[in-house]
Amino acid sequence: MRGLWRLTLMEARLFWRTPQAVFWTFFFPAFLLVLLGSVFARQPGQMAFLIPGILGMVLASTAYYSIGVVVTYYRSTGFLKRLALIPIPAWQFVLAQMLVRGAVVLAVGAVLLAMGAGLFQVRLSAQPLTLAAVMGLGTPAFLATGFAVGVLARSVESANSIAAFMFFPMTFLSGAYFPVEMLPGALQPLSAVLPLTYFLRGLRTAARGGGPASVATELAVLALWGAVGALVSVRRFRWTT
């Protein structure tokens, strides 16, 4: 376990030293919250809807860009090959990536909640157990699918393309910024298969005080996505090209 801890610390250090990662993960969501808040804060309940949406966007971008693209970058530059020569099992590398990104997402969630409360007087009557279940299952599920992108992509360019293909439509189709019900009827079935839809629905239910039983479907779908991501990651992971 000391190896896992060392890898996690190293990965955390690398994350903080990558200006783009810090900007897009911490500063951009905060900026977006202020921007959207300046427009929608006067409408009752709007910020309580948008804060989970922005957190969902952060989770998806962290999964697909921060893990997916980074793993491909590590492999294409040869850094992953260098890491492969260290006496560590591959699962510790995978887990270290996920632990760092998971901690980052939780930290961003806390910052968004604090900003929502401080700047826009958002008061959530969240059910802690439900919130913990949705975050605790949704975060690793997304990160596993993000890792799968990094495993399947053959170059940084293709990882970026896959990430963009998944991230941008997903944030619009899953109800991050407006309710899914506002989507045209033809697009709603698409929304129903996307993991972000279930993550956001679960998060908003938890924020309204719903109990764990009320998010059973959401948790099941997230678990399924996570299992697929983990399976692909474990079966297809290679240290080298």
Binding site: G3, R6, R13, L14, F79, R82, P87, I88, P89, T240
Partner: protein, 245 residues
Amino acid sequence: MAIAAAIEVEGLCRRYGRVVALDGLDLGVRTGEVFGLLGRNGAGKTTTIETLVGLQRPDAGRTRVLGLDPLREGLLLKQRIGVQLQEAVFHPYLKLGEALEFLGGFYPRRAETRRLLARTGLADQAAVMYGQLSGGQRRRFLLAIALVGEPELLILDEPTAGLDAHARADLWALIREARAGGRTVLLATHHLDEAESLCDRVAIIHHGRLLAQGAPSEVVGGGHARLEAAFLALTSDTAPPGGMQ
């Protein structure tokens, strides 16, 4: 008394699609020697090394490194070897000192960071990030990484590529030092003066096959004055197949 084998390779085969990288390669490296793996570009040197350290899965053949199977006992093996690959790089945002501290923690024995940086000519670069180094400094740092776990076996793939004359001389001294300390060194190179000067024994491979193996003076044989002449004669594509053993 027989000298224990550090590396044993028998009938190693590896194909990349239709390209044959290794074609029944046999090699034997003795404990405590500096062994040169010589060959033209594309001869199979890097594939051999990557197979020895468990990065490649051979299509056929048997490999034992320090008595261990690189694929099935890879974690144990990696604790005992140090490797400098030809193409591997390090993360641009890691400082040299902290990188060696980080990596050293994975090994049962570890070299002291400051001493290692000094020994590789990077004493004043501990706080510099890898991405800020010149090409030659990067290669020296990758060598420092190979040495961080006090390895019994040091595997170096073209370690002097891109080094200036001084850095090259330093690296030669370091290899001699490693040998004097009882380490085995496998050195893949196409600098024949390097092999002649440093290696106790060499193997010449061509198209993934062993053409010759032995002390440089034995391999030179056949009326050639220098290893270079023997190498050119053996690895010319117009040379008769088989070579000497």
